[in-house]
């Protein structure tokens, strides 16, 4: 399948948001082929060159495309829950131009052929860019190291055992040491498994509902242990989806101590608390579990202060058969891709963060963590763009998701922020811009 190479395209009348340069204001972007060739307040001074296609953004926001650093792909292995195609279509409709997938597929991404399979399938789809993490341990069993060096050469951006914690301290120590040999980052699901035998956050709500609890300490203890191992080994460590107030403090201290430690969180953990599971709502059964509101507020503060580097969707598609079960039996995980931008924009609408800062956590920050040349509008970068209206309100209706799975804990929630166009390598892969606007731009020429 060959795709026509895009020509020169001018995006005019935009509110340009570029976290890399710190610019938030009116502007224009010129792309040629796959790349950004110019960005400025006024590039054309009203005289557009004849060979340029014009896209009139009508005052809407134009930012680098979202880089979602935590997505569970179900292909290969569980295509009834999500395929690369359905995830990619959901991603581009949500402004995500790069997604980085966990290795807990079947087969597991602990060898080169599986990584290459995903990369090839993604190339053929030519929608969002797809990268993968490699497994830290063979079969995600937490015992023997996977071939991290070779997997990195085959394209793995960083290493993780996905939804399983690397629980054995000796294995974690060696993973950090071995990873440091090649400059590889270890991404941990920070949860002590022997404490995390419950099904929701431990506390009053769990006691009322008669559900077994997962104490906050399961996350806190694992983080504290890991930070010690990072100090011991000099390894590069990233904590995924942190969910407690103490976690923010622990990461802040590790950073202050000069350790190579970073972290992310997901919209679930700054937009919801444990009350979402009342009435035994299995869509809100997540891992880590939704916590008390004090923890949720601390996660917001962690984002504001910058202790939490990035926001990831933590997309975990589950089919209805895995969720329409008694709460203790239901699968963990929430669909996150299609609500990533809109729910994150709550941070802006609630005046916790500037729009530019929210976009930084969704674009440049995760790109830098993973060493990707993305999340920036600098000249010469790939033209991965998102055009969105941050104000447009809509209601999350999970049944309307493009993703095969509808397990959104945000179902029914009113949100603000609508993606209008998504561009990958200069090519529009999603377009919901009003037809009149396109017409108007033609006239402007």
């Amino acid at each position: 399948m060959s795709i026509a190479k895009p020509g020169r395209i001018a995006y005019i009348n935009a509110r340009v948001l570029d976290p890399a340069s710190g610019y938030d204001g009116p502007g224009e972007v010129l792309t040629s082929g796959e790349e950004i060739v110019d960005v400025g307040r006024k590039l054309f001074d009203g005289k557009l060159p004849a060979d340029v296609d014009v896209i009139d953004c009508d005052g809407m926001c134009l930012s680098p495309g979202l880089v979602d650093m935590r997505v569970q792909l179900r292909e290969p292995g569980e295509e009834h829950k999500e395929s690369l195609k359905s995830a990619s279509e959901a991603a581009v409709a949500s402004g995500v131009t790069t997604m980085v997938c966990l290795p807990n597929t079947n087969p597991i991404m602990d060898d080169e052929p599986t990584l290459e399979f995903v990369a090839r399938r993604a190339r053929l789809l030519a929608l969002t860019k797809v990268y993968c993490y490699g497994a830290v341990t063979k079969g995600l069993q937490g015992k023997e190291l996977a071939e991290m060096g070779l997997l990195a050469e085959a394209g793995a951006l960083a290493f993780t055992d996905a939804t399983r914690a690397i629980a054995d301290a000796q294995v974690m120590r060696r993973a950090l040491q071995y990873g440091a040999t090649f400059g590889l980052m270890i991404v941990q699901h920070p949860e002590e498994p022997t404490l995390a035998t419950g099904v929701m956050n431990a506390g009053e709500i769990a006691t009322r509902m008669g559900l077994s609890g997962i104490p906050r300490e399961a996350e806190i203890i694992m983080l504290e242990r890991d930070i010690r191992l990072v100090a011991m080994t000099g390894g590069r460590y990233h904590a995924a989806h942190i969910s407690t107030a103490d976690s923010v403090e622990i990461i802040a201290k590790a950073k202050a101590d000069g350790l190579k430690v970073t972290c992310d969180t997901a919209p679930f953990y700054f937009a919801l608390n444990e009350l979402a599971v009342r009435d035994y709502r299995t869509f809100a059964k997540l891992s880590p579990p939704l916590r008390a509101d004090e923890d949720r507020q601390a996660i917001v503060e962690g984002l504001k202060s910058g202790v939490i580097d990035a926001i990831a969707s933590d997309h975990a598609p589950q089919d209805s058969d895995s969720k329409r079960l008694p709460f203790p039996q239901a699968a963990f995980g929430g669909s996150g891709l299609e609500t990533l931008l809109a729910v994150s924009l709550d941070l802006y609408h609630n005046e916790h963060m500037s729009l530019l800062d929210v976009m930084r956590r969704l674009t440049l920050a995760p790109a830098e963590l993973l060493g990707l040349q993305a999340g920036s509008l600098a000249k010469g970068r790939k033209a991965d763009l998102t055009i969105f209206n941050p104000e447009e309100g809509w209601k999350v209706i999970a049944d309307n998701f493009i993703s095969k799975s509808k397990n959104s804990p945000f179902d029914g929630r009113p949100v603000q922020g609508r993606v209008l166009r998504t561009v990958v390598d200069g090519r529009t892969v999603f377009n919901a811009m009003p037809a009149e606007a396109k017409h108007a731009s033609a006239k402007a020429r």
């Binding site: 009053e204 509902m209 008694p326």
Partner: protein
């Protein structure tokens, strides 16, 4: 018409019930106690109605109690013992609910090993549902029969001091009981080793004790809970021997309670584990057999109210009006 004194379609738990609703069910139960003690025990109150006992967990006592209650009201009763293996056969709880619903039962009495499962099922059927125990969540008819037992003996619930002793962490009986007793104005203490006390349980209004002598001091009621054997082998408590030594109810510990304190147990008892036979069989103090007797009366009251509400609801539905 729907029973205005108890307008709920289901009885899924004690949480959310008002004191007036609880008293109403207890008053109705009280009348059935008298009926059950008379020669003519059966009535035609639910003649032609169908009650299904749907048990996903082994139970002899509760199922028999529901069955007897339904039969005394003249209803048709079907017992379905669904082994947990049916889940592995592929039929989900929701499939089971939909299948049963198609048979037009009036009330389902459901027990399930998972917390919340009875609510999940209730959301998918048109009939009334009574929770016969779901996981570690609630067992409302047990709490009602315990309250009835206490009220008949002590003449009130308000102001009494009640101790609930044992495996509170895993006990639906404990949850329903303290919710009911607190709603009715009693004071509740729970007494257990820390490993068997649910987190933040004090926020629900109970007082927490870890010492039997201190916790039983001056109480009016001693409720013992059953301790499951599988929790006795080192995971939550080191051994039966040690548990009985510190938390088993014997004469010596009981001496701390009021002289006329009642001893209760939801059964089946582990004699020598949580309760000494000598205490359990004390005719002056133990009301354990009475609890079983009153259980039938309580379930008659609950089934009658729910069956009538279910009929009222479905009649409204048949007329095309929206139910509430």
């Amino acid at each position: 018409m729907r029973d205005l004194a108890f307008p709920h379609r289901h009885l899924l738990g004690i949480e959310g019930l008002t004191p007036a609703e609880i008293n109403y069910l207890l008053d109705l139960s009280d009348r059935y106690v008298d009926v059950n003690r008379s020669a003519q025990k059966t009535s035609e109150a639910l003649a032609g109605r169908t009650i299904v006992n749907l048990f996903f967990e082994n139970s002899t006592r509760t199922r028999t109690s529901f069955e007897l209650a339904a039969k005394r009201l003249g209803a048709n009763v079907i017992n379905m013992q669904v082994e947990n293996s049916s889940v592995s056969k592929g039929e989900t709880l929701i499939d089971t609910a939909v299948t049963l619903n198609a048979m037009h039962p009036d009330v389902l009495a459901v027990r399930h090993p998972d917390s919340g499962a009875v609510k999940l099922l209730a959301d998918k059927v048109n009939c009334g549902v009574v929770n016969g125990g779901d996981g570690s969540h609630e067992h409302p008819t047990q709490a009602l029969l315990d309250a009835l037992t206490i009220r008949r003996r002590k003449g009130k619930l308000n102001g009494l001091l009640v101790a609930i002793c044992g495996d509170v962490l895993h006990s639906r009986v404990a949850r329903s009981n303290f919710l009911l007793l607190l709603t009715m104005g009693a004071r509740v203490r729970i007494i257990a080793p820390r490993t068997l006390i649910p987190s933040a349980v004090d926020r629900l209004g109970v007082e927490v004790f870890t010492d039997m002598a201190a916790g039983l001091k001056d109480v009016d009621i001693v409720m013992m809970l059953r301790v499951q054997n599988e929790r006795m082998r080192g995971s939550f408590i080191p051994s039966v021997r040690e548990y009985f030594h510190f938390f088993g109810l014997d004469r010596e510990k009981l001496a701390q309670a009021k002289p006329d304190a009642l001893i209760m147990h939801p059964g089946p008892m582990n004699r020598g584990t949580e309760i000494d036979s000598d205490v359990a069989d004390d005719v002056e103090r133990s009301v354990i057999r009475e609890q079983v007797e009153l259980g039938v009366a309580v379930r008659m009251a609950v089934l009658e109210v729910l069956a009538n509400n279910s009929m009222a609801q479905n009649a409204k539905g048949a007329l095309g009006r929206t139910g509430t």
